[in-house]
Amino acid sequence: MEFGPHLILAVLEGLVQASVLTLTALGLSLVFGVMRVVNVAHGEFFMLGAVFAYWVASWMGGPAAIGFVAALIIAPVLAGLLAVACDWLILRRLDYDPERTIVATIGMLYVIQQVTLMTYGPDAHPVTPPFNHRLAIPWFEFTENGFEFYYPWGLSTTSYKLFVIFAAMVARMGIWLLMAKSKLGLILRATQLDGETAQAFGIPVERVYAFVFGLGAALAAVGAVLIVPIQQAHYLMGHDPLLLSFIVVIIGGLGSLRGTVVAAILIGMSNGVISVFFTPTLAKILATLLVAFVLVYRPQGLFGAKPA
């Protein structure tokens, strides 16, 4: 493949990955920022989003678009409610102690994964995309006749992949509006800044925590519902998003939403581009190496605040 078309393809693939990754990583970052809980089970909520999407879509039947839209609404809500239940049943009882919640969320990881295995089964299932057209992308070249467009071999994307990029952008905008412009966002930011003072001002911190934990899981689930028509729902699919989300959150700065978005796009894009030109293994090596450098030279992350 020539360099130009090859690069375009790499960028498109990277953008799809980055889009889903931003949503998943935002969820992880939000939970850490507000609650100071490192949610090791985050990838499993991602997986649950995909599995619920499959269930909803196959239960609805009918046209693929209706099933998909229903899944896009119902699956994140279900994953979020489950996360809220986990928060009330487990995390709250541990007083959100950082060390104990890590162990508890590791436990949740295995429980969720194994229950999915027992109910959903070990197979991968696809969700039919609401629409999926192959879009050939034109490229230009200079010939004797001057500037010409042509369709290079293999250079294409699908309408659904473009939709994923767009939908993730809308979701990011929604989160930004929620955090920056709404009263709920004010409460969240206040709790993040200083939980005790917030409580003293009458903010029901425990309920805020439950909400945030649910929101974090729901964000991961939205990412999963978007990706499941491209990939498939499988009970082990939570590993990679968890690892990448951690990489993103560490590079971006734990708890910094802006840093998370920037780092997710950086990692997602470089992952896509390096995977296409070299190998996916090299992409993972470089991302992990970057984490090491960030931890050594800028432990608070690219956008994180320096600890007081």
Partner: protein, 430 residues
């Protein structure tokens, strides 16, 4: 009057004798074969190492169904040497480390007579050494070349399914003659995929073709478009074989990459085992070719053995479960379980197998086997077993997708898959 009838029933000596004779005659009828009282009527325990979870789960489910269907059939035929067969399943999670532990558990905890049933080659390679140490006959159903390559040991046998080296060698002439000579290979990046890479490259060169690019993909990969730009433009044939839960994504993204300008495509059905060919996004496969170990769709010249085999497992003429047409089987591979179990039966009977002390005799008896006729025990086709390399050789099927069904175009001869022996396990001591 019930009481009267009972009191009336006073059997004379003659009546009892005729009755016994009749009972004796019934036992000789087919389908009614009680277990001949051997020295022990204890069941023979077969430890079934099954990929119930992990990346091999779809295969595991169908290997399980095939095994559980074969066991009663074998018991109806009189069991193993007059003793009923009992299958003891253990999940290995498609994981080599767990695989070795499962073999250990069969030996020490379940006291099984033999171990059987493993598919994924890395699990076989991880488990076979332990089986050898435990002196436990280990019948694998894996396709990997590791048995015949001499890498394993005398206790490991593969009598139910042909290995990759033989498969690709038998099919390379068809690819070179009908599809093209410049081939790009896409394969999973572990032992099984490397077998494909090495042996197909050699086989196509022998036909005057060449492999111009090799794309190794980790078996746990979930997105594939990023690999496809490595396919050279001058590719005439794509040769693909993929495993794991993401196979459907792989094939779909390949279709999206090529659009209407696809080269010829020759795939191993592994890339779509347990996947419905009618799934949206697979339309581009129309007209492409697949290797099949055994034809998923019942063909026009379907044998009575194929009919019996499908009915016993509960698979319809489209290769899907009779109870759920969406639940598509791993039809091209799972016959290996059925045939291996029948070979174990034949081996135990030839060896006069009584218990674990006869394990070496069982291995020797299987090593002595050669021709296996197409039959109810071997519905996939006639085979030849090579006792020295512990590997069976069978026919291969090349099918084309026509109207969303796989239609067999070519069946290879046994000789097409023969290659010189690379090991003689019979010279190793037990």
């Amino acid at each position: 009057m019930v009481s009267k009838k009972i009191s009336d029933f006073k059997p004379s000596r003659r009546k009892v004798l005729t009755g016994m004779a009749a009972a004796g005659a019934t036992t000789a009828l087919p389908g009614f074969v009680p277990f001949v009282q051997a020295q022990s009527s204890e069941p023979i325990r077969i430890g079934f190492q099954v990929h119930r979870t992990g990346i091999g789960a779809a295969y595991g489910r169908w290997y399980d169904r095939t095994t559980m269907a074969a066991a009663p059939v074998i018991n109806d035929m009189g069991g193993l040497n007059g003793r009923p067969v009992e299958i003891i399943s253990e999940d290995d999670g498609t994981d080599p480390k767990r695989g070795a532990e499962v073999v250990e558990k069969f030996a020490t905890h379940h006291n099984t007579d033999i171990a059987y049933g493993t598919l994924f080659s890395h699990v076989v390679v991880g488990s076979a050494p332990r089986a050898g140490e435990l002196k436990m006959p280990y019948f694998v159903v894996s396709e990997g070349h590791h048995v015949a390559s001499g890498m394993l040991n005398r206790w490991t046998l593969q009598p139910g399914i042909t290995d990759v080296k033989s498969q690709v060698q038998a099919m390379a002439p068809f690819v070179a003659d009908n599809l093209g000579k410049k081939v790009t290979m896409i394969f999973p990046d572990y032992a099984f995929g490397h077998d494909h890479r090495d042996f197909f490259s050699a086989a196509i060169e022998a036909q005057g073709g060449e492999v111009i690019a090799k794309l190794a993909i980790p078996p746990t990969e979930t997105s594939f478009t990023k690999y496809f730009p490595q396919i050279p433009r001058e590719t005439e044939v794509i040769y693909h074989v993929m495993v794991g839960p993401a196979v459907l994504t792989f094939v779909k993204e390949m279709g999206e990459f090529f659009g209407s300008a696809r080269p010829e495509i020759f795939g191993f059905i592994d890339s779509l085992e347990a996947v419905d060919l009618a799934t949206p996004g697979l339309e581009f496969l129309e007209g492409t070719y697949f290797w099949e170990g055994m034809p998923r769709y019942a063909q026009e010249n379907q044998s009575e053995y194929d009919k019996f085999y499908r009915a016993a497992i509960g698979v319809d003429n489209n290769g899907a479960s009779v109870s759920d047409p969406k639940d598509v089987s791993t039809f091209a591979h799972m016959f290996g379980c059925w045939e291996t179990l029948h070979t174990i039966k034949a081996g135990m009977e030839a060896a006069g197998y009584q218990g674990t002390s006869d394990r070496a005799k069982l291995v020797e008896a299987v090593e002595a086997m050669t021709d296996m006729a197409e039959s109810q025990a071997h519905p996939q086709g006639a085979k030849v077993f090579n006792g020295k390399t512990h590997q069976v050789f069978g026919p291969q099927y090349i099918s084309q997708v026509q109207d969303g069904r796989l239609v067999v175009q070519h069946k290879t001869a046994l000789e097409d898959g023969f290659y010189p022996d690379e090991v003689d396990y019979t010279t190793q001591s037990f």
